[in-house]
Symmetry: C2
């Protein structure tokens, strides 16, 4: 079992550390289908917590959920010129709809069941949804449409990494339709803010808001906005994107509306999404060499109570445990681990590796002094929490831990955002001290490719907050600087 | 637009009535992919409400959620002998993983990307999950596993009907693993009870609990238990199933555990599921010739408040509406319809067709007398609800409506459960007065087929509550009666 060896230290092998944290945390497992993973209960519970919180935020900003088909007619993918380049490549294709018995006693596709037009498993749903919006939109009265979908999508990936890159993954995709450009732009920006607040308030991940370069833009978008997070190794992780699609999809699917003035106009569009890769972002932002660390606001179990007793003390201890549980329940997400086939030490080990923020031990001596023995997942000595008023104290501690995780991550982001003076400087630094490099950028697409080829760093975004740049020269290209840009290696 | 013609009365054409209710209720739309529908926001919101309630019930009975891959290796489907018969037929097959540009400027599957082994889009996940359980289960300490999955599944269907039968649909599938037969049987029965309580308490659909005949059993199950509901036309609708799978899947996927006594034993299994077809069941149980009727416990919007005013009264009316809204919010699911591009009449029409249980109109005269003008979706005259104490009165009304819907449905189920004296009697009656026919059944599989061929009625279940049967003769076969069975035409 994985538990037999410890977690590989970050300093030794960061990639292996990530895999170990996930495996010890019991988050995910390999499946017999290449590129597809199984989200185990604890991993899925983290995604569920994200879903619940995000869904509330989407609804609070006027959105409703809907569900569109998994299958997209193949021809749809070639309707929007740039979209086809970006998505009509590595995708799963359904070509038959029936199995028949084969000579060897197994089954095989029935050739008679070949589809006239293959179906693509959605890699994203713009094409299907804009086809449908064409049926739903006729007048300005039908606008805006503010729809979100929770769904699975598939992008055939050769090299996978748990949560960060898998063939099938879970996500949400918002797709909105508007009467005016301004309204669609406002929506794009609103949803970027929703993602950023969610990341900071719930995931305790500070993010940089920015605009993508043309090279890194969503295929079919006019502008792609992003929130970029920094992992502990200084690499960037794109944590969410919000796209202003202009009228590209309306044009491709012929979606027009009659304006209040009586004119036929093309509809304006946005789309925005986050996925299960956010679980990977949480793992890589907060975990340590002991394993998973979950921010309290996200943790499916915030507090675990572990009774510690010999048989004669069972009743006394369990009475205190039950009372403590009753006091906490409803206010915090609490679990009592009363399994009697595991020793306390094994339980501590398991819950630590599952990233539970706070552990409360209750033994006969604790009952006597009227306090639980507490241990934060994030370190420090054990300390007593009196049963009386425990819930307030626990809430306080969870809030402190949440705040501390955010601050640590924010400090990392600040401290590891660097400058580079020249091409050579950058090439050396990005290797020696990975981080975000804030560059007064003057390059073009070809320059961007050159940086990527030489350093594996990409232009993560043009930060929305731009310091003054007039008169500066781009250190990487020697050209006049046009806009501040962040370069980093990225997942 | 669909709104231009009314809903077809049930008495005129029941099938068309069903389609009209769904279309006027704005629940679903056709998609460009044959057999796949789009769940529009109002239709999806009903499914979301079901999900939320069921998920709570699953968790309260000790289950956790997880997520398994969409794709199943083709060979898995032939591992369990009966399962292959039932599921390895009409299913979507992925054979390629890349598109390339085609000569005509479109795209086509790249022949070089053909998969070595085709992948099946899951029609149900027993095979994948039992493959994984084989990795997770080693000792009695690993049991039970109580996992549920919310997912989309695909069964290629030629004849579809919105919600009731579509190629892709949404569902939940529980898959549990146990150390003993007794424990697995207990789980099967527990989940049937969960479904039955949910149907009665939330959907206001009374159900008959029963056991399926061998002919109607889930492919791979030892026993399938079902909850059967009766639609307004007397047809049956299988609303949920819970399967005792014995050791069939453990055997097929070689899943054993070391028992406390130190023996290697095969694991015992259950699976259980309900799907978006429950939305169809709700539609067909409660709706009337005016359109959709939703039970309050399920309705995404329970109360709609509609301000009615001329411009000069706007402020007065909206102040009262806002206060009423504030009073109701948090206690009931309330929506204010303050769209100013629609007349009140059009709003009444829309919300009635969306099945909202209670409408509150507030105009200047209502403000003056301090009461809203109320209308139940289920009929009766308009009546006043004083603003003071409105929330208690509204909660009372919603509870009454919920109860009344359940009672009406229960009366229908009771009144339309019939007996038949002979084969000829049954053949005539099932046509003239469709309903549930409770038969002291003595037939075999071939007899069951004969009944189906002659009458389109199927053996829905052997009710769990069995009246005495000793000495009776089966009226359909003339054989000695073995067990009471319900026959009906079914969706």
């Amino acid at each position: 079992m994985a538990q037999d060896r410890g977690v590989t230290p970050r300093s030794e092998n960061y990639s292996q550390w990530y895999l170990d944290v996930i495996s010890h945390g019991d988050l995910i497992d390999d499946s017999p289908v290449r590129g597809c993973k199984v989200l185990k209960p604890h991993g899925y519970a983290i995604w569920e917590a994200m879903q619940r919180d995000l869904d509330d935020r989407f609804k609070a900003t006027g959105h409703v959920n809907a569900y569109f088909p998994l299958f997209i007619p193949m021809s749809f993918l070639s309707r929007e010129a740039e979209h086809v380049e970006g998505f009509a490549k590595e995708c799963a294709l359904v070509t038959h709809h029936r199995l028949r018995a084969s000579a060897d006693g197994g089954v095989e596709p029935d050739p008679a069941s070949q589809l006239e037009e293959p179906l693509v498993i959605r890699p994203t749903s713009e094409t299907m949804i804009w086809h449908m919006y064409g049926r739903w939109i006729d007048s300005w009265r039908d606008l805006p449409i503010l729809v979100n979908q929770w769904a699975n999508v598939v992008r055939w990936e050769m090299k996978t990494r748990p949560f960060l890159r898998t063939a099938e993954f879970l996500w949400q995709e918002g797709h909105t339709a508007h009467a005016t450009r301004a309204e669609a732009e406002e929506e794009t920006s609103r949803m970027l803010d929703v993602y950023a607040s969610f990341a900071e308030e719930v995931l305790a991940i500070p993010v940089l808001r920015g605009r993508k370069s043309a090279r890194e833009r969503f295929a079919g978008a006019v502008e792609t906005y992003t929130i970029e997070a920094m992992m502990q190794n200084g690499w960037a992780l794109q944590a969410g994107t919000s796209h202003f699609l202009g009228q590209n999809f309306a044009r491709a699917f012929d979606v027009t509306f009659q304006s209040e003035a009586g004119e036929r106009e093309l509809v304006w569009a946005t789309s925005w999404g986050v996925s299960t890769r956010l679980v990977g972002a949480v793992v890589m932002t907060h975990s340590d060499d002991e394993g998973l660390v979950l921010p309290p606001a996200l943790a499916p179990v915030q507090v675990v109570i572990i009774p510690v007793y010999k048989n004669k003390d069972r009743e006394t201890v369990m009475a205190a445990v039950d009372a403590l549980h009753a006091q906490l329940e409803g206010r915090v997400r609490v679990r009592v681990d009363d399994r009697d086939n595991l020793r306390p030490g094994a339980k501590y080990y398991e819950w630590e590796h599952k990233g539970v923020p706070l552990r409360l031990e209750v033994g006969p001596r604790d009952v006597k002094r009227g306090a639980a023995f507490a241990k934060r997942r994030t370190g420090g000595d054990k300390f007593a929490i009196p049963f009386e008023g425990a819930v307030e104290r626990v809430e306080e501690i969870l809030a402190e831990v949440q705040q501390a995780l955010l601050e640590t991550a924010r400090r990392r982001l600040d401290e590891r955002t660097y400058a580079a003076e020249s091409w050579d400087d950058f090439v050396r630094l990005i290797e020696e001290q990975p981080g975000f490099y804030q560059i007064p950028w003057g390059g073009d697409d070809a320059d961007e490719d050159r940086v990527k080829d030489a350093t594996k760093a990409t232009l993560r975004c043009y930060p929305l907050k731009q310091p003054p740049i007039e008169g500066l020269t781009c250190p990487l290209t020697g050209k006049p600087a046009r806009e501040w840009a962040i370069f980093a290696r990225a997942y």
